[in-house]
Amino acid sequence: MEATHNDAPRGNGRPASGGRTKFIIGGLLILAAVGYLIISSTQAAAQYFLTVEELESKASSVGSRNVKVSGAVVGESIAYDPQSLTLSFTIANVPGDIQEIEASGGLAAALEAAVMNPSAARIPVVYIGPKPDLMRDQAQAILTGHLGEDGIFYADEVLLKCPTRYESALPEQSG
């Protein structure tokens, strides 16, 4: 394969004048640049990831900053106006702690409990855009946007997950 390819002298190369210093300096410069890029971008792009409850309790400190919030979609609250592409719905608080979700029987169960529980913290959401295909009752919504002064969460991005699609609730006994 490499028969015609002989531009690779093997054998003992001698360290060039200047030795390894220039490589070490070059490497450090690159590492510093990479580190700077990662740290500065983290600061620029970081968003709080909150539950509905946390968002309500921190409303004043969060202000109109962009945050992420996750919760369970309340089915009967979904309203869509295709003329203006305005989607409005309510999300109910789902605990942010994994252990807590596990204890309540998994994500699907936690989402259901959140929607059924009338005393769970809730927040209205408005989103302008096409209605996502997975927008339905008890879907897990992860929203990016900001909390308006009117108490409505204005989402720029809606990400939906339906855990039930994968865990497939067992069928009713049918014989």
Partner: protein
């Protein structure tokens, strides 16, 4: 019963694998050849066994055996036969089985190669491959059994179990739930197998790397043996990633192809280390350097492959959170942690034997430029990994979960990708060992000057985005350098062998497939970069509600809304389909049918875009809403994705280049006999 057979065969396969591991270890320790050969037979046997088990599951899927829980959850009667069969990888349990099947296939293929020149590797390759296989088989048997059935307990509840719980009777639902509609797409049928093939075939280079460490045969033999395996693995992984992007573009209806989702990143990370590995092994082959580094890369790739299998498994929209519920999470992390620690310990124990034969001498030498390339790939990996784990870290230290989104990834990796493009332009002109700055400058000055025409022209015609200008300049620069490499090589052949230019070009690439295949890959990457710059920086969008006959304008395009019809399709879905006509500069170019399917069983709608594609870009329209009766108005969301087809076309060039690089050489003997060693390459420089 097929389910029992399939499960029993899996258990047997696990036992065979365990026997193979034990026999290989014993044979290697005592030097008894017969035991090693027996271990090899065991490895060869796993493939037919897992095949049988997988066929059992496919048969159950195709014949609607809904008493099997997995069949119930991923198929339904109305699904066409091919979708039922491919539903094998439509859910977690089945895809683990599919993964094991591919793993067994690759292990067997490795077992069948000619081992005369590297016998001492054999037992250890068997051990690594079978340990990996055994891990996945135990996951299936213990936690995620696709053959488990549904039982009705006396108390009335439904239980999922392999064998009848006491007093329970078998439940056979009348119909299944059916595959998630989002997954019913040709891209989704081939995307997971491609990704898995890529994942699985990276196990083989890792196995050889570990074998080399254990047997202390630490020259570059293991790298030469696995070169083609690595390329094939890399090819499949690349194709899997591209197909995933294409699927997202066609199905998810947001006009994008890549969202920096943790699941996507998980599949991307082994590709990054794999690409770095492909480049850095060349330094070891040519210069006997970076031996430690190559081991580190292959170990990282293996661990990221297992991690990727774990994360991507859940399909499209699940996340780490949906996974934590399943018992396989801890098992996966345990396995990854153990393999990582064990491989690293092995590497450290052989550290001194892996010392390099050369040292870096010149900043502009090809090996140093390759090293820079590796640094950049690993930096991208670090950025990706940081982005994925940042929420966990921030929660640990501040008690508050903070995430980073796509802007983070774009900002960090953008400059790194630009750096990689720049290297792609410089490295082909450099020489191994030592590059004189002056000769490199002489080679580089013309492509550099010529490529500057592109950004200048663009700037004069109204493009002012600095990122776009830089990107298009780099694309032009790399293209010119790469094409001139082909040109100079072909000219040299013509002079020496008196070949016609096309013949010279063909032979040039054919005699030196790795290098020129690599250049073709670079050209593919450049095309993809052009597409990405176009979509990321110049995407336009609009939306509007139109009455029949009305029109909407976006860029050079005008779309009229003609009509809309609702009807039932045979596989249990309600289709709402709009008819629209697209005009470009007043000329009719296409009729598009954006539609929305509503699946009754899963109660899920699915939006399917209408797309008019040209080299210039895609006109991409979604049907967002409509008046059900009287059909007076419909709402559309429209995207203009400039240059996106360079992305898809570039990926085809990319695949072609990989095939060229991986194609077996059959003319090696003749070429060596005819060409005075090195004459051509010297002159081609």
């Amino acid at each position: 019963m097929l389910a029992n057979l399939g499960f029993a065969v899996l258990v047997i396969t696990l036992l065979v694998s365990i026997y193979g591991i034990a026999a290989a270890l014993y044979g290697a320790r005592t030097g008894r050849e017969a035991w090693v050969l027996s271990a090899r037979q065991a490895m060869l046997l796993t493939w037919p066994l897992v095949t049988l088990s997988a066929l059992c599951l496919v048969a159950l899927l195709v014949t609607n055996h809904f008493e099997v829980e997995f069949v119930y959850s991923v198929t339904s009667r109305s699904m066409p036969g091919y979708l039922k069969a491919t539903a094998l990888w439509g859910g977690q349990a089945g895809s683990l089985l599919f993964w094991s099947w591919l793993m067994a296939a690759f292990a067997s293929a490795a077992g069948l190669r000619r081992w005369d020149r590297d016998r001492e590797f054999l037992p250890w390759v068997v051990v690594v491959a079978l340990v990996t296989l055994a891990f996945f088989l135990s996951l299936i048997i213990l936690f995620e059994n696709p053959f488990a059935r549904l039982w009705a307990a006396p108390a009335g509840e439904t239980i999922k179990a392999m064998f009848a719980p006491s007093g329970a009777v078998l439940v056979t639902p009348g119909d299944g739930q059916g595959l998630n509609p989002l997954l019913r797409h040709p891209g989704m049928i081939i995307h997971p197998p491609m990704l898995y093939l890529g994942f699985v075939s990276f196990v083989i280079p890792y196995a050889f790397g570990m074998a080399a460490l254990i047997t202390r045969r630490t020259d570059d033999r293991w790298i030469r043996v696995t070169r083609r395996w690595t390329l094939v693995a890399w090819l499949f992984l690349s194709m899997g990633l591209v197909l995933g992007g294409r699927w997202a573009y066609d199905v998810l209806g947001w006009g994008g192809y890549w969202g920096w989702d943790p699941v996507e990143i998980a599949a991307f990370m082994p590709w990054l280390t794999g690409t770095a590995f492909l480049h850095s092994v060349m330094i070891q082959e040519k210069r006997g350097m970076l031996k430690h580094w190559n081991m580190v890369l292959v170990i990282l790739t293996y661990c990221l492959v297992i991690f990727g299998t774990f994360l991507t498994r859940s399909g499209v929209l699940s996340s780490v959170h949906a996974f934590a519920q399943s018992a396989i999470g801890p098992a996966f992390f345990g396995f990854i942690g153990l393999s990582f620690a064990a491989s690293l310990a092995l590497l450290l124990s052989r550290w001194n034997e892996l010392r390099g034969e050369n040292q870096l001498t010149s900043l502009l030498s090809r090996e140093n430029l390759f090293l820079l390339n590796n640094l950049l790939f690993v930096s991208i990996l670090v950025a990706c990994f940081w982005g994925v784990i940042f929420p966990l870290i921030s929660e640990l230290f501040t008690g508050q979960k903070v995430t980073v989104g796509p802007p983070f990834y774009e900002r960090t990796t953008g400059p790194m990708f630009a750096g990689l493009l720049l290297l792609m332009g410089i490295a082909p002109l450099s020489a191994w060992g030592r590059t004189a700055g002056r000769s490199l400058g002489r080679l580089i000055v013309w492509p550099l000057a010529a490529s500057l025409v592109v950004p200048l022209g663009l700037a004069l015609s109204g493009t002012h985005n600095p990122a776009a200008l830089l990107g298009f300049w780099l694309a032009a620069f790399v293209t010119l350098v790469t094409l001139s490499e082909f040109w100079r090589g072909a000219l040299a052949r013509r002079r020496i062998y008196k070949e016609a230019l096309p013949v010279a070009l063909w032979n040039l690439a054919g005699r030196n497939r790795r290098r020129y295949g690599g250049y073709i890959i670079h050209l593919g990457v450049v095309l993809m970069a052009i597409g990405i710059i176009g979509v990321e920086l110049y995407q336009q969008e609009t939306q509007g509600t139109l009455a029949e006959g009305q029109q909407i304008t976006l860029g050079k395009y005008v779309m009229t809304y003609d009509s809309l019809a609702e009807f039932n399709a045979p596989d249990d879905r309600l289709v709402a389909r709009a008819v629209t006509t697209i005009y470009r500069d007043g000329q009719k170019v296409a009729e598009l049918y954006p539609r929305r399917d509503f699946y009754y069983v899963s109660q899920q709608p699915m939006t399917i875009p209408g797309v008019y594609s040209s080299l210039e870009g895609d006109f991409y329209v979604l049907l967002v809403g409509w008046e059900p009766i009287g059909s007076s108005g419909a709402t559309f969301k429209i995207y203009l994705n400039p240059l996106i087809n360079f992305l898809w076309g570039g990926s085809l060039v990319f695949i072609l280049g990989t095939l060229v690089a991986a194609w077996p050489d059959r003319e090696r003997a003749r070429a060596t006999a005819r060409v005075p060693a090195g004459a051509l390459a010297q002159r081609a420089k």
